[in-house]
């Protein structure tokens, strides 16, 4: 089933476009140092070259510190996508692990994970993250990943738990149990591959949630520290000049919207592919 899900997805045009956009973003992030014409922290002349409109020298214009916005957006992809991908991986791994534990062991493990989910879901995530960042001061990207990832696993855990419980009742898992397969083997060999598409959906949604969250953190001054560019703090620089320097907002916003939108489209199409597959069965 899952193999078919992936195959279906690859034949889906919106999904291919979205994947291509995300792939391009990832490539840009990786090759940013080679793609960017300027050092993103270079301030050639913060007095006379600040806030220049887009031109042949500076395709995306310059910011209030005379830095090249295109170079910053390219390097910002590195930081923003790096943090987003890291946080997403952490959230999904954590969510899958806890959801699987809850489903497989049941009993008090299930109750404990359920209680944890209930507690965390009751606390608004943005506030929790803001609270922690405000509490412990500005954080390094690694801590940011830990924090955003550590608070974003709830959805994955719920999905994985529900799907695991569903699959645990199915005959093929019973057959494996009858064969003497250990819990570990059942999870690894049978359940995880079965639930992989759903986890991928959760991952895409997590990615889509993390990027705006990073931007929101930057907006309250608690995001990625300068001079390291991130899409969030480039946007923040732009919010002061909404009416006077549109290029500061439009380009990073475009990057954010494209990436988040692609992740959402991918999640949608993947879900559709799963549903189609379930339907066919």
């Amino acid at each position: 089933m899952a193999t078919n899900t992936w195959r279906r997805l690859m034949h889906d045009r919106p999904a291919r476009i979205a994947a291509a956009v995300l792939g391009t973003a990832a490539l840009v992030a990786f090759f940013a140092p080679w793609l960017a014409r300027y050092d993103p922290t270079l301030q050639p002349d913060p007095v006379t070259l600040r806030l220049l409109a887009p031109s042949w020298q500076h395709w995306f214009g310059t910011d209030p510190f005379s830095r090249d916005v295109l170079s910053r957006v390219l390097h910002g992809a590195r930081v923003s996508l790096g943090v987003a991908a890291g946080a997403m991986l952490l959230a999904v791994t954590l969510g899958a692990a806890l959801g699987a534990l809850a489903a497989v062991f049941g009993g008090w493990v299930d109750a404990a994970v359920g209680a944890l989910v209930d507690v965390l879901i009751a606390m608004p995530r943005l506030l929790v993250v803001i609270a922690l960042v405000a509490t412990f001061g500005a954080l390094s990207p690694w801590w940011l990943i830990a924090l955003i990832g550590g608070s974003g696993w709830l959805a994955t855990a719920r999905i994985v738990r529900a799907e695991f419980r569903d699959h645990l009742q199915r005959d093929y898992v019973l057959a494996a149990r009858a064969l003497g397969a250990s819990r570990w083997r059942i999870v690894w060999q049978h359940l995880l591959p079965a639930v992989a598409p759903q986890i991928a959906v959760a991952a895409a949604l997590a990615l889509a949630a993390v990027i705006p969250l990073e931007a929101a953190l930057s907006f309250v001054g608690l995001g990625i520290q300068p001079p390291l560019p991130s899409w969030g703090n480039i946007l923040l620089d732009g919010t002061d000049y909404l009416t006077t320097a549109w290029w500061l907002v439009v380009f990073p916003l475009g990057a954010v919207t494209l990436t988040v939108g692609s992740a959402l489209v991918l999640a949608d199409r993947l879900r559709a592919a799963i549903a189609g597959e379930e339907h066919r069965r």
């Binding site: 913060p46 001054g221 520290q225 919010t239």
Partner: protein, 553 residues
């Protein structure tokens, strides 16, 4: 001296009265002030913030107020308020204030000397926890020979004893508050809906939303021209400015640099300069944050501090962030202070010289990573910046790029303001972008830059200590003539500049955003609200909200 002064005072009084009587100008209209913060309380002893003062000082008058010259020594230039006259005893240990017999509380009761006495009791009672009571430490007691005479006895003579007393102590309505226990005062309903004696009376307060004041028709110095003042609060800087630009507010205390870019497109708002008492700096921690008994491994060396200062182009920083809205700072003072001295010898910007100085101090980039090192230690430090201040962040980013060119690596650390102050107080930082809002008095310099101790240097986060500076600041604060004060202060300031405990960054010039319909006259640099009673609104430009919001006079 006393008699001469009294004569001059009488003249001022006459002039004021004459002016008030002849040119009333248009009355009516409501001024809406767009504020970035709310008053924390309306109880004067607990007020700390500027916004708190901006509100309470319209509701409550002082005995006398500092004059337009902002002199703080003796009583020269001070304008009578609740006290119409005062006289000094021969030994200067007693000042007798004669209350204005026309002064009334907003409930109609006369303001008496007992209210002064009661206020002094409240201010000095530790159960109340008045924050600025150390300013009253030199006052021994207050006697009330009659209802309109308050005799203030001082423990010791000081050049600024008059200023310290009248600037701090605000008479409180004893007839309303005396029945309330001191410990309950901070949260009493009476205090949240205060009855004052100033030009405006309290109408309503929705914390963090808005606060409304109405003209006090029975004000002893004549009814204010405005019908009322309303403060509307928004936490976001962009919103505070947007309110003014959208025409929803008439006045904004301070325009931020990005706001200026929007002004040309909008002819309904103008910027009005009024000095300012802020100066900002990069403060070095002279002590090792890990072990405060040791000198800081980098900043312990004055030659290095000077070399870093040489490497910073402050003019470029100021131009980039503020264009012409700020000036490079000179030393530990603001140009608006009367003790300011613009002829001091500063450390110029010369990055070649800075590089040579660092070379000669043994800091070389031996491994080619662009950062100098000495004995295996890189020339790198972290710069603590409050996340709440966009300008300070910008300054840090510019500084970081400039120092990078001379082989110094700066890591910026943003912290929310609370954490920033906490780390500053604990000296848990390498360097920070600090800022001070001074008062007209040179007194403040002692708290920030004198050697830390119980009486001074409480805000000296970098633990800088310089005996020349300390001695001359102390002498200046004890001097009774303006000339002597200036001479001592000059020497002290020069010592501070030469010893470079900080890089003196910039002094923002304050620009208020004022709606075209509003005439505000001159704004006092230490307190923009000082003359609100004389502000007026062009009758031809009244807005519906002036009528709508008009509370019954």
């Amino acid at each position: 001296m006393t008699r001469i002064f009294l004569g001059r005072l009488a003249l001022v009084l006459c002039l004021a009265a004459a002016c008030g009587g002849r040119d009333r100008g248009p009355t009516g209209g409501i001024v809406v002030v767009s504020a970035g913060a709310d008053a924390e309380t309306l109880f004067p002893p607990l007020v700390v913030t500027n916004q708190g003062r901006a509100v309470t000082e319209l509701i409550y008058d002082k005995l006398a107020d500092i004059g337009p010259g902002l002199n703080t020594i003796g009583d020269a230039g001070f304008v009578p308020k609740l006290a119409s006259t005062w006289e000094w005893s021969r030994d200067s240990l007693t000042i007798t204030f004669h209350m204005n017999p026309n002064a009334r509380w907003h409930d109609g009761r006369p303001v008496t000397a007992r209210d002064v006495q009661y206020a002094f009791k409240v201010w000095t009672d530790s159960a109340v926890g008045a924050v600025q009571r150390s300013a009253l430490a030199s006052v021994d007691s207050i006697a009330t020979p009659d209802a309109l005479t308050a005799r203030v006895h001082f423990r010791e003579r000081a050049p600024e004893q008059f200023f310290a007393f009248v600037y701090t102590l605000i008479p409180l309505p004893a007839h309303r508050l005396a029945a309330i226990a001191d410990t309950a005062l901070h949260d009493a309903a009476e205090v949240r809906a205060p009855v004052g004696n100033g030009p405006f009376r309290f109408v309503s307060w929705m914390p963090r939303v808005r606060l409304e004041l109405a003209a006090n028709a029975a004000y002893y110095a004549g009814r204010p021209r405005l019908d009322g003042v309303v403060y509307v609060v928004a936490a976001q800087g962009a919103t505070v400015a947007a309110r003014l630009l959208a025409g929803e507010a008439d006045f904004l205390e301070q325009l931020a640099p990005p706001d200026f870019a929007q002004l040309p497109a909008d002819h309904s708002v103008r910027a009005q300069a009024y000095g300012g008492f802020d100066y900002l700096f990069v403060q070095f921690n002279l002590r090792d944050p890990a072990a405060t008994e040791r000198a800081h491994p980098i900043f312990g060396d004055v030659a290095l501090r000077r070399a870093l200062t040489l490497g910073v182009n402050r003019t470029a920083i100021v131009r980039s962030i503020f264009d012409t809205l700020a000036r490079p700072a000179i030393g530990p003072f603001s140009r608006t202070q009367w003790t300011a001295d613009t002829t001091l010898r500063g450390i110029p910007f010369d990055s070649a010289l800075a590089a040579r100085a660092l070379d000669s101090l043994g800091w070389h980039d031996t491994n080619g990573d662009g950062v100098r090192e000495r004995g295996g230690r890189p020339l790198a430090f972290s710069l603590l910046v409050p996340a709440s201040s966009r300008a300070r962040q910008a300054a840090a980013v510019l500084l970081q790029a400039q120092l990078k060119t001379i082989g110094v690596r700066v890591t910026i650390e943003q912290a929310d303001f609370n954490a920033f102050l906490d780390r500053a107080h604990r000296a848990a930082f390498d360097a920070l972008v600090g800022g001070v809002r001074t008062s007209p008095s040179p007194r403040g310099v002692r708290d920030v830059w004198s050697t830390p101790g119980p009486a001074a240097g409480t805000q000296n986060f970098g633990r800088w200590s310089n005996t020349t500076f300390d001695a001359h600041v102390d002498s200046a604060l004890a001097a009774t003539s303006a000339g002597a004060v200036r001479a001592h202060v000059r020497t002290a300031y020069q010592a501070a500049i030469d010893d470079a405990p900080a890089i003196w960054l910039y002094e923002p010039r304050l620009f208020a955003g004022v709606h075209r319909r509003l005439t505000v006259g001159a704004l006092r640099p230490d307190a923009w609200w000082a003359n609100v009673a004389s502000w007026s609104i062009d009758p031809a430009q009244r807005l519906p909200r002036d009528r709508r919001a008009s509370p019954t006079p």
